[in-house]
Amino acid sequence: MQIIVCLKQVPDTTEVRINPETNTLMREGVASVINPFDMYAIEEALRIKESLGEGEVTVLSMGPPQAEASLREALSMGADKAVLLSDRAFAGADSLATAYTLAAGVAKLGEFGLVICGKQAIDGDTAQVGPSLAEQLDVPHATYVRKVQSLEDNKIVVERMTEDGYEVIELALPALITVLKDINQPRLPSLKGKMRAKKAEIPVWGKEDLDVDEKLCGLAGSPTQVVKIFTPERTRECRLIEGSAEEQAKVLASELKKII
């Protein structure tokens, strides 16, 4: 069974800082990493393959040529194959156009049993590409998966986290799931994996390689447009409460009683 993991390369937010003068993001020298949620997706795919004792894990990303580095990292963790979807025509895509292009990539990869995505990317935070991709692939999906209970007989049973607990959902394969941090602990790349990843060929598929309508890709295919970007006002003044713990607690309690 082929398991496809979709991953996104994102700026490492542990290094992103706000320029206090201009109130803008300082991205200079900020490293790019695999979106943290996608690490859990890769790990879960590897675990499923190991428990089945067969199969192939393919990692797929849409992005600029630099995103190849993230795919290589996934290969070093143990993924079998990686493909990058990269083309000027794919740039500027919103979640619908991204899912459209990814769906074309998945179609070209051939038969699959499962697609795994991270819950959301930490730069855009939309959590929309997973379910949108499921729709465009015409497969069932479950979001916020915190555990795979079983995978057999062409079906997968998962636990999906809800606001007040969880649901147990059975999906016929092929299917798509998006996973949470709670699902596993991603492994570190092995030395052997790193060596293999270094040498691996990563095909780059552009619009000519995929069965896509260019008008539905990238910026042209994105119904939504960003019209304005601004920094939220940070005029907040922190009122420090002084004194002993008792005195501090007393002042705070009386302030809180005004609010609640």
Binding site: P36, H141, T162, I229, F230, R239, I260
Partner: protein, 390 residues
Amino acid sequence: MGGIKVDLDLCTGCSVCADHCPFGAIEVKDDKAVITDICTICGACIDSCSFGALSREAEEAASPVPDSSGVWVFAEQIGGAIAPVVYELLGEARKLAESTGSEVGAVLFGSSMQDAANDLIAHGADRVYLLDDANFADYHDELYAAALADLIQEEKPEIMLLGATTIGRSLAPRVAARVGTGLTADCTGLAVNPETGLLEQTRPAFGGNIMATIICPRHRPQMATVRPKVFQAAPKDPARKGEIVNLKSPEVALRSRLLERVREQAENVNLDEADIIVAGGRGLADEKGFKLLSELAEALGGAVGASRAAVDAGWISYPHQVGQTGKTVSPKLYIACGISGAIQHLAGMQSAETIVAINKNPDAPIFQVAHYGIVGDVFEVIPALIRELK
């Protein structure tokens, strides 16, 4: 589709635009700004240029916008109870409907929901599209997506709002893809532009460090999920009148089913709906620290949250985690105890109405977003605070 154009005569190569680009998509080569492929045409650079060298390229002839009318709200229910965010959506939908001169529609799927439908009318819906069917009692991705997409294609609303809840964030992208329209996630601001008539949807990105305003100019409906607790709930007026339209169930060959729905013990874990959250971090030292925190939460009638460090240390379970890899919350009151305030944590809570920080380290970044700060030992301050509140 237009991109960003650089007027080479006006550009001085000063690189201010490159610094302002949130996506790192501008390079300066040979003393001129160059827009690279990763540009999303957000326009942040246009405002930053003092020389007027940057502009949006004229767009190609616009395709006609489909006819549509009405501001719709998806009335999510769990176990027959309408989710609190629905009333917030109705309040916002009424304002939007008044500014566009249209009606408010509510879409309700469930079983034995007649009373709930009337309740939606009392809270501002002019029309409730009701699908009352035992198969729709519990949320089901495929069933709900099919029914909602069919209804949208039939009735053509102009605006469709859903709560940015577990259900809303799973259903909305599936439906948007099926009807082929745009969707903006997790909005915290909505307004209709009086000139263009378009819905301007504002949302945080990059963990709340920047805000983006997004439009959906040529596709309908304009769809958005809306963060709970951001908007005021609509007031109830039992005298309000409205219409209930009964819908038929769609025929769908299902490929998934719900086997079980489990509510987990602790009531203090539903962070999404909590008005008050008391959260703990590394400074709480161990599980016992969280016991103390629970007492404070109980005294305040709030839920317990945690930083990633505390969850990773095993002091409390993952559903309590607030921040980039946990939940994003916007309660009325957030009390951060022993949390230093890493950027990933701030991303999940900085939109709270009032933030209180209690921390030993006066330089902890949490104080930069807090309204009230106490520099002190959580093990002294929290017990004293519990005594004061009692």
